[in-house]
């Protein structure tokens, strides 16, 4: 552990010292060992040579037990070498021995290395005296190894001294080198520290031409480059910050675990966060239903209409686009958030407008895909919304369904597309006959590539009214002309010649009656016109006693049809809260009672009833006759102006009475109902709403 706290210089010195010590120690040991081995080999050789030589030289003397000769050999040998003792043995006894008595007295023990000699101080060796493999004796010698030990000790001492001095020099050189080297390294270190604290563009002095100089040069170059890059990064960052904080959309970056790392100003504002509160916020705190797994695992990176939670616990509708990307080997998710609250509100409002619009419209892109169709459009063409999907290639689907509805009596030559893309009138035959006007415009007028919006306005009603007016004028002219033709014809006859009085009176009566008819016709026409024109404005609705009104009307009409009775048969009590215009209801009763009497030869019956409909209570008055009745066709046309069931003209009438009745009752908020079977009579009922809570007159 201490090593880690040492400076580079000291580490170098200690490192070199340890290595030096280790290898010098090995060197000294090795050298000593080699010296030992050499000396040992030498002494072994010497001992073997001497003993073998002696064994060879003394073989005859030993075999012949020539002691004198042996003594002579031994004495001459020991005098000329460093032999401590020599002993020659026969098979049973010592034949001769010379040398130091101390060593001679010790039991012989052969030595195999110098180390063994340390016990007795002599190197003991022997050689057998052999003849043809048969032993006759043995030579034992002991050599002095003092000198060898002395040489080894001396050599070890010298080697140790040299090693020690060498270590001192190496340590000194390491120290000087370390100082020189670290001085410049310290400069580099200081510069690096300053750089790490943010200082840029630092330069260290360049001296010499060694490796450290090269490192210094490289550092200066690196420092310069880092300075430039840092400056550029700062500039880029500043620009990026400006952009990020200027965009209206919120931008955030988070880990794939959902921990938010950064947010731009718009995102902070959106969630009501201060910038210092971003740290350690989880996306789930801000968007509880954020589908993080969905974003990571699927390609769907777009989340629509997810609810966000601001710091003040206010919900905001959000649209999020996410992207997974990698920075510094870490996976991040970058998202763009848009506050959809206002857009959604506008969309809902627009949607409501579209849904409620009686006009149909669709949005058609240039590639003929229909992206939007409002409910009125579906209704106009009677298309079930599920038949054609919106978006995509759906033009064929829609046009096929539209085709089915078109009345081709009006559209012979034009293709449907031409019809639709040209402002025109479209006639439909099914589900009901309709007339539509089509208008078309670009959604974005300035952009020719933008989608088209096609408006379909239902003008059927206007067309019908026009036709009705036209028909009415034709009918009215015809109806007015009929009495006028009689008046004109008979008056011309009277002016042209003289008639007897009876004939002349008859003709005057006809002219008078036709004049009355004409007047009646014009009166009713004017009434109807007035009522229509004023749309109920001239009505004076007030609570009246319907019973007395009915009774008076019956008496009045009975007078015109002598002998006939209108029998009142109330099935429910008379209401006390029925509001109506008394004059108009009298006219209604008069018209209906007259019609009943006209088309019936018997008495007629009036009955009353009540019914509930859509939370409202209606009081009904039915006029029932047992007359000729009406066919279903006649009944269906009843109410048309100037329509008369009796086309013969035998029954007097304008053909406007029922229309007038219908109009009056309609203005009262009531309804009329007519039922009949041909030859069985007819029942005409009108219902008037009870204005206040049903209040029954007892």
């Amino acid at each position: 552990m201490l090593n880690f706290k040492l400076s580079f210089k000291m580490k170098t010195i200690f490192g070199i010292a340890i290595i030096e010590t280790f290898f010098l120690f090995i060197l000294v040991l090795n050298s000593r060992s080699i010296l030992y081995e050499t000396i040992e080999l030498d002494i072994k050789d010497q001992a073997n040579n001497i003993s073998t030589l002696l064994a060879t030289a003394s073989v005859d003397a030993v075999v012949s037990q020539d002691i004198a000769t042996l003594d002579s050999i031994l004495n001459s040998t020991i005098a000329t070498s460093k032999i401590l003792y020599i002993r020659i043995l026969g098979l049973d006894e010592v034949l001769a021995e010379v040398g130091n008595q101390h060593f001679l007295n010790q039991p012989f023990k052969e030595d195999n290395s110098i180390v063994d000699t340390e016990t007795d101080g002599t190197y003991d060796a022997y050689a057998n005296i052999m003849i043809d493999g048969y032993q006759f004796g043995r030579v034992e010698i002991g050599l002095s190894i003092e000198e060898q030990h002395s040489i080894i000790d001396q050599a070890t001492s010298h080697l140790s001294t040299i090693a020690f001095v060498e270590m001192l020099f190496v340590a000194l050189f390491s120290l000087l080198l370390g100082v020189a080297l670290t001085k410049r390294l310290i400069l580099l270190q200081e510069a690096t520290l300053k750089m790490s604290q943010g200082e840029t563009g630092l330069q260290v002095p360049i001296k010499g031409s060694d490796e450290v100089t090269n490192v210094s040069k490289a550092f200066n170059l690196m420092s310069k480059k880092i300075g430039q890059v840092t400056q550029k990064l700062k500039s880029d960052n500043s620009r990026m910050d400006t952009i990020m904080n200027t965009v209206t959309d919120g931008i955030f970056m988070m880990s794939i675990e959902g921990d938010i790392h950064s947010m731009n100003r718009s995102a902070c504002r959106l969630f009501g966060l201060k910038e210092n509160l971003i740290v350690e916020q989880s996306i789930f705190n801000l968007i509880p239903k954020f589908n993080l797994n969905g974003i990571i695992n699927s390609k769907e990176k777009h989340i629509q209409n997810v609810e966000g939670l601001t710091l003040k616990s206010k919900n905001v509708a959000l649209e999020i686009h996410c992207n997974q990307m990698e920075f510094d080997n870490q996976q991040y998710i970058v998202g763009v958030i848009r506050d959809m609250t206002e857009i959604n509100r506008l969309q809902y409002e627009l949607q409501a407008v579209f849904n409620l619009s009686p006009n149909g419209f669709l949005i058609l892109a240039n590639d003929l895909s229909i992206s939007y169709v409002n409910p009125a459009f579906y209704s106009m063409f009677s298309i079930a919304p599920e038949r054609c999907e919106l978006g995509g290639n759906n033009w064929a689907c829609f046009t096929e369904l539209i085709h089915n509805s078109i009345d081709y009596n009006h559209h012979m030559d034009l293709s449907l597309l031409d019809e639709l893309l040209t402002e025109n009138i479209l006639y439909l035959k099914s589900p009901v006959e309709k007339v539509l006007t089509i208008s078309r415009r670009k959604i974005d007028q300035a952009n020719p590539d933008s989608s088209d919006i096609l408006f379909f306005i239902d003008i059927t009603h206007l067309t019908i009214v026009d036709k009705m007016k036209s028909d009415f004028l034709t009918t009215a002219a015809h109806e007015l002309r009929t009495p006028l033709a009689s008046i004109c014809g008979f008056s011309e006859l009277l002016l042209a010649r003289e008639y007897d009085k009876e004939t002349a009176d008859e003709m005057h009566n006809i002219i008078h009656r036709q004049s009355l008819n004409l007047k009646h016709l014009l009166d009713e026409l004017l009434d109807l016109s007035r009522i229509e024109a004023r749309a109920g404005k001239g009505f004076n609705l007030s609570i009246q006693d319907i019973e007395s009104v009915i009774k008076a009307s019956c008496v009045e009409v009975e007078g015109a049809f002598k002998g006939r009775k209108a029998i009142i048969n109330p099935l429910v009590p008379w209401p006390t809260t029925l509001a109506f215009d008394i004059d108009k209801i009298r006219q209604v009763l008069k018209n209906l009672l007259s019609n009943a009497f006209k088309y019936s030869s018997k008495d007629i019956t009036l009955s009353t009833s009540l019914r509930e409909e859509l939370g409202k209570t209606y009081f009904g008055i039915s006029i029932i006759d047992k007359g000729i009745g009406m066919t279903p066709h006649q009944l269906s046309r009843l109410g048309e102006r100037f329509y008369r069931a009796d086309e013969s003209g035998a029954t007097p009438g304008s053909g406007l009475g029922v229309a007038l009745v219908n109009e009056i009752i309609s203005i009262h908020g009531g309804k009329t109902e007519y039922s009949s079977e041909s030859g069985q009579g007819m029942t005409a009922t009108f219902w008037l709403p009870l204005t206040v809570n049903k209040c029954i007159k007892d």
């Binding site: 005859d60 030993v62 075999v63 012949s64 037990q65 000769t69 043809d132 048969y134 006759f136």
Partner: protein, 269 residues
């Protein structure tokens, strides 16, 4: 009776055991260098050891006088010695001859240089004659005995070995030298060609294998049988041939050396 039987059995085993371990010294007359002599005699000693069960050890002496001293001191149990020595020590310490080389008679010779004028013993009067050693029987004792018998006065020089005698004569250091046929024939031919034999003695009983008077008869028999058994074995004959006993060995007894005794030599007294 039972105890006596057990005792006799034990004695038998103990004597056998003792016999098996007994060390007997075979002393050989130093006719050559001790190491050469040992090399030549080792096979015989090993063979005898094997056959007799004794540990037979080869021994010799540095020279004849020392050999004589050791024989006289009774150091050897078995002795191989020349005829003269035998006659002396059979008498003094009771050596008993048991064997000798078969059909072998020993001759002494006197050699001179081939270019020498000397041709008879009488011409050697006053001359320095080389001999191996004073007690060398064939090379020294026999020639000197005959020279004395013929009353020739001479100056003996002892040069330790037969080879030294022949070399000395070849080199002209001596005019004549005593030797024997066998050693002359083994002397290098280039030099032996420069020599000639001027005298050869009559045959005498050769060297004797003799045992010490201390050995029991049984031991003596065992050794004698072992020696003689070599004649009948191939390996034995090889051993004997190597020692120069090409004809083998034969059983001998003391009186076989009476011919030597008749020369009445008295060198050791």
């Amino acid at each position: 009776m039972q105890a006596l039987f057990i005792a006799s059995i034990m004695m038998f085993f103990s004597s056998t055991v003792l016999a098996e371990g007994k060390i007997l010294k075979l002393g050989v007359v130093p006719q050559q260098s001790a190491s050469n002599l040992a090399k030549a005699w080792l096979p015989l000693t090993l063979s005898l050891s094997e056959k007799t069960g004794y540990q037979i050890r080869f021994a010799t002496a540095p020279n004849i006088p020392e050999f004589e001293k050791r024989v006289a001191a009774g150091e050897y149990d078995i002795t191989y010695l020349n005829p003269y020595h035998y006659t002396v020590f059979s008498q003094s310490i009771g050596l008993r001859a048991i064997a000798r080389q078969k059909d072998k008679r020993i001759h002494g010779i006197i050699v001179v240089r081939k270019d020498s004028d000397i041709s008879s013993l009488s011409m050697l009067s006053g001359v320095e004659i080389a001999f191996p050693a004073p007690a060398a029987f064939a090379a020294t004792v026999l020639p000197q005995a005959h020279l004395r018998l013929e009353e020739v006065s001479f100056m003996p020089q002892y040069v330790s070995s037969h080879d030294s005698v022949y070399s000395g004569v070849v080199k002209g250091l001596f005019l004549a030298g005593g030797g024997i046929d066998r050693t002359l024939s083994t002397f290098p031919k280039a030099q032996s060609d420069k020599l000639k034999v001027i005298w050869r003695s009559e045959g005498y009983t050769p060297h004797a294998f003799a045992v010490s008077a201390d050995l029991s008869d049984e031991e003596t028999d065992r050794i004698q049988s072992a020696l003689l058994s070599l004649n009948h074995q191939e390996d034995g004959m090889k051993i004997l041939t190597r020692l120069g006993f090409k004809t083998g060995l034969m059983k001998s007894e003391d009186k076989d050396w009476d011919d030597v005794r008749s020369l009445k030599i008295d060198l050791l007294n």
